[in-house]
Structure formats: structure tokens, C-alpha cells
């Protein structure tokens, strides 16, 4: 069981900044994210895109914004549960919440901040009629352990980096690898594309372009797929596994079943006060929340995090007095023992005897 003061669901920019504001109030944070790395959409979807509306940054790459946030919150020693999706929330008799992930990791905290953006990133599933019935029976959207495919016949579909990289990797593991892509060109890194073409020439990857997997067959487990080729028509390909790799897209997911007020795929909060949800002790900040006039902007999420943390403090420390302190005054004292503080201004005394005016009477 992981114990913390504020449990943050979603390690995007807003969740990360919460760690800073909470740290100023001596509150410790733990973050859960379904992605294997922090940064949310900024890292996963558009790390190389410039953002122009972060105050005081005329231009910053999304990836750099995340790197800077990581540096900013480092003194407050955030801990993470990455690659796991928050699945359930339970209120305990002592008032704390227990949040459990899809992998069974349990987290206990008096306050939960949902900074889930548009939801957790999940694999995009191709629209093949019976695909759901083959999930974990030969259809996998994520490769967890490549050894699983040793000496198996594998069909991979997709045209991006992960489809290319896994085709290359599995070429030495699986007994047969087919890569199916709708186009003749690939958008992956040049090295990967060249390697796939080379392996294809060596007969190690069966490259099927201008084609799409349309059907899956097999009794209880995949034993073949039908590939529709642009000019050659349908091809039935025998295989043990079909791995569609079409990237990830965000889904609100299990949070939608936590009893929170949901409107337009977002969590309703009280924006006139504290960004609290209808569940006392649970706050929602950033793109995941909604209220009249809501703007899904990183800068708005930073504001929401700052306000909500003040109320979380009061909830955790009902009898403790506190007033907000400027970092220019109080500095930043990390949990790691570091302390950043403004330099004291230098005072230089001038030791010159003042001239005594002679008074004429």
C-alpha cells in the first residue's frame, strides 16, 4: 500500500504542477498514470510541438515544458505508479480513499486529485467485427513480453514506429512475421523503415502493403486473418497472433464509474471555490473537469491546481493556520533537504562624517 497526502491521477503538466503547489504547503504527492512516462499528452502525442501560451515562455516545446516541470517539482520528491490505470476508488472509515489500479497496486490518501486530461491512453482498436472475442486469445494491442511470440506466426498491422520496431524485433523471435500496412510508405524513423525493407528482402519480414486486415478467424483462438489487398483482393493468412498497433487514444475509462457528476465527458466541479467534485475530498483539475466557461488550457489547469491545493490543505489540516506565502519571500524548501531562497539584498554603509552645518546667527 502506497501512502501519500495527495494522490494525483494523471501525470500530465497539471498533475505535475500540483506537486509543486502541494510541496509549498508541505504536502507530499504520488502520481498514477496509465502511460509509462510522465507528461501526459505533451510527452505522448506532441513532444516536439511548440506551445505559445505558457505565461513568460514566448515559445516552449511540449517536451521541454515537461522536462522543466520535472525539474521544478524534483525537490518535492514525487513518487509515481506508471503504466497502470486507476481503476477503483473506495472511501475508508478513517475518511481516506483507497485507489486501486488495473494491476492491483493500492494507494491510500486523504485527498484525491483527478488531473486525468482526456482520460487514460488506450490502444486504438481496428473496427473488425469480432475482434473483442479474440482479445488475449491471439489478439494483443500491446506487446508486453516479446518471448511470448517465440516460434509463433505473427501478423502486425500499422504503419508507425511501434509497428515497424516490433516487426524488426520479432523477426528474430517469431517463426514468421507479416507486416500489413494500408500504404506503400511508412511514417516511422528512417532507420526503422530501411531495416524493415532490408529484412523484407531477406525474407525475414513478409511485407504486405496497400492492404488491411479485415477479418479474424479461429475457434476460440486466432488461427488466421483475412487481409484485403488493394489490387490482389482477399488473402487468408494463417497465423497464431494478430497485433494491431495503431497508437493510443484517450478514454475517460473507469473514472466515469466512480459516482462523479459527469457532463460532456468531463467531471463537473465547483469553480467558484475549490474545484471540488461532488465527492468530498476528490478534486478535478485541468482538461478533465468542466464548469461554465471552462477552457482546456494548460495555463488554466495550473491555476486550478493552485487553488484546489489550498483547500486540500485545509481538509487535511483542519485546525492548522496557514496563509499563502510568496516564493520570493519564503523560497522553496524541498523534502530532499534543498532550499532555494532569494539572496538577501546587500547593504553597504557609507562611513563619512556628516558635515555639520554652521548656523549663522
Amino acid at each position: 500500500m502506497i501512502h501519500t497526502d495527495i494522490l494525483i491521477i494523471g501525470a500530465g503538466p497539471v498533475g505535475m504542477f500540483t506537486v509543486f503547489e502541494a510541496g509549498l504547503l508541505k504536502l507530499r504527492c504520488h502520481l498514477i498514470d496509465a502511460l509509462p512516462q510522465a507528461g501526459g499528452q505533451c510527452s505522448e502525442i506532441y513532444p516536439k510541438k511548440p506551445i505559445y501560451d505558457i505565461p513568460a515562455y514566448p515559445e516552449v516545446l511540449a517536451g521541454d515544458l515537461i522536462d522543466n516541470l520535472a525539474a521544478q517539482i524534483k525537490p518535492f520528491e514525487p513518487s509515481y505508479t506508471l503504466g497502470e490505470r486507476a481503476e477503483t476508488i473506495e472511501k475508508q472509515e478513517d475518511g481516506d480513499f483507497i485507489v486501486t489500479t488495473n494491476r492491483g497496486t493500492k494507494h491510500k490518501a486523504p485527498v484525491v486529485f483527478i488531473a486525468g486530461g482526456l482520460g487514460s491512453f488506450e490502444p486504438r482498436k481496428p473496427p473488425i467485427e469480432n475482434i473483442a472475442s479474440y482479445e488475449d486469445n491471439g489478439v494483443e494491442y500491446i506487446i508486453r513480453d516479446p518471448e511470448f511470440y517465440r516460434n509463433k506466426r505473427v501478423v502486425i498491422s500499422g504503419g508507425g514506429d511501434s509497428a515497424l520496431d516490433w516487426s524488426i524485433f520479432l523477426a528474430d523471435v517469431a517463426s514468421e512475421v507479416s507486416l500489413v500496412h494500408r500504404r506503400n510508405d511508412f511514417r516511422g524513423a528512417l532507420d526503422s523503415v530501411e531495416k524493415v525493407v532490408e529484412l523484407s528482402k531477406q525474407g525475414k519480414i513478409n511485407l504486405i502493403t496497400e492492404a488491411e486486415v479485415k477479418e479474424i478467424h479461429g475457434e476460440g483462438h486466432v488461427n488466421s486473418v483475412t487481409i484485403k489487398h488493394k489490387s490482389e483482393g482477399n488473402i487468408v493468412k494463417e497465423c497464431d497472433h494478430f497485433i494491431p498497433l495503431f497508437g493510443l487514444s484517450p478514454k475517460l475509462g473507469p473514472i466515469g464509474n466512480w459516482g462523479l457528476d459527469i457532463e460532456k465527458n468531463a467531471i463537473k466541479v465547483n469553480n467558484s471555490l475549490d474545484y471540488s467534485t461532488n465527492i468530498p475530498g476528490v478534486y478535478a483539475i485541468g482538461d478533465v473537469n468542466t464548469y461554465p466557461g471552462k477552457l482546456k488550457l494548460i495555463l488554466c489547469g495550473f491555476h486550478e491546481a493552485t487553488i484546489a491545493v489550498q483547500y486540500a490543505y485545509k481538509l487535511i489540516n483542519p485546525d492548522k493556520k496557514y496563509v499563502m506565502k510568496y516564493t520570493t519571500v519564503g523560497g522553496v524548501e524541498g523534502f530532499d533537504g534543498t532550499k532555494k531562497v532569494a539572496k538577501k539584498s546587500e547593504v553597504i554603509k557609507i562611513n563619512i562624517e556628516p558635515e555639520v552645518p554652521v548656523l549663522e546667527i
Binding site: 499528452q41 502525442i45 506532441y46 504503419g159 500496412h181 511514417r187 487514444s249 468531463a266
Partner: protein, 108 residues
């Protein structure tokens, strides 16, 4: 500058006739969102960077649409339900000569 009229068939098959301003640097995806013709969170997920295909639509009138850029082409290569007339709404700026445009939103 004046508004233009766009005909949009939503994902449930319902027809809408909407007015879109040509002087607000809007794109087709944003027009759909401004009229709430698709549920929030199911369209414009990436914000309009041609990186998610959630705004895919089919252009059914013969308007002269700006040519597809590489980003859009690459994204559509990975999208589902793609047809010959598929485009990403976020890559179609609203301009005066799109008056009368007829589009259909692709399935989610």
C-alpha cells in the same frame, strides 16, 4: 467578411445546416465543436494538430478543398473507416469559397 453555410451530417446520421465565420481562423473541426455536433472528448482530441483523426469526415460536395499536407496524409494512413473522400476537419480552414460545403462525420 460574411459567414458561410455548411451542411454537416453527424455520427447519428442527423443533418445540420450551420453558419461558420470566415474571419476567425476557424477550421471545420472547430465549427463542429462550436455547434456541439459530436460529443466533447470524441472530436478534436489532439486539439487540431492532425495527430488523432478524431475529426475525420467525408467531403461529399465537389468543393475545391486545400490539398492534404503530409501530417494529415500520414494520420489518415493510420485511421479507421477511411474512404477516398476522407479528410481531417482540423486541416480544413473555413474560407469563403467553402460556402455550401457538404460533409459527413466519420464514425468515432
Amino acid at each position: 467578411m460574411s459567414d458561410i453555410t455548411i451542411h454537416i451530417k453527424d455520427r447519428e446520421g442527423k443533418q445540420h445546416q450551420v453558419l461558420a465565420p470566415t474571419d476567425m481562423a476557424m477550421n471545420l473541426m472547430e465549427v463542429v465543436r462550436s455547434y456541439e455536433l459530436a460529443a466533447e472528448g470524441t472530436i478534436g482530441v489532439c486539439g487540431g494538430m492532425a495527430m488523432c483523426a478524431s475529426c475525420q469526415c467525408y467531403i461529399t460536395s465537389d468543393h475545391d478543398i486545400p490539398e492534404m499536407g503530409d501530417d494529415e496524409d500520414i494520420m489518415l494512413a493510420e485511421a479507421f473507416h477511411v474512404e477516398d473522400n476522407s479528410r481531417l476537419g482540423c486541416q480544413i480552414p473555413i474560407t469563403e469559397h467553402l460556402d455550401g460545403l457538404i460533409v459527413e462525420l466519420a464514425p468515432e
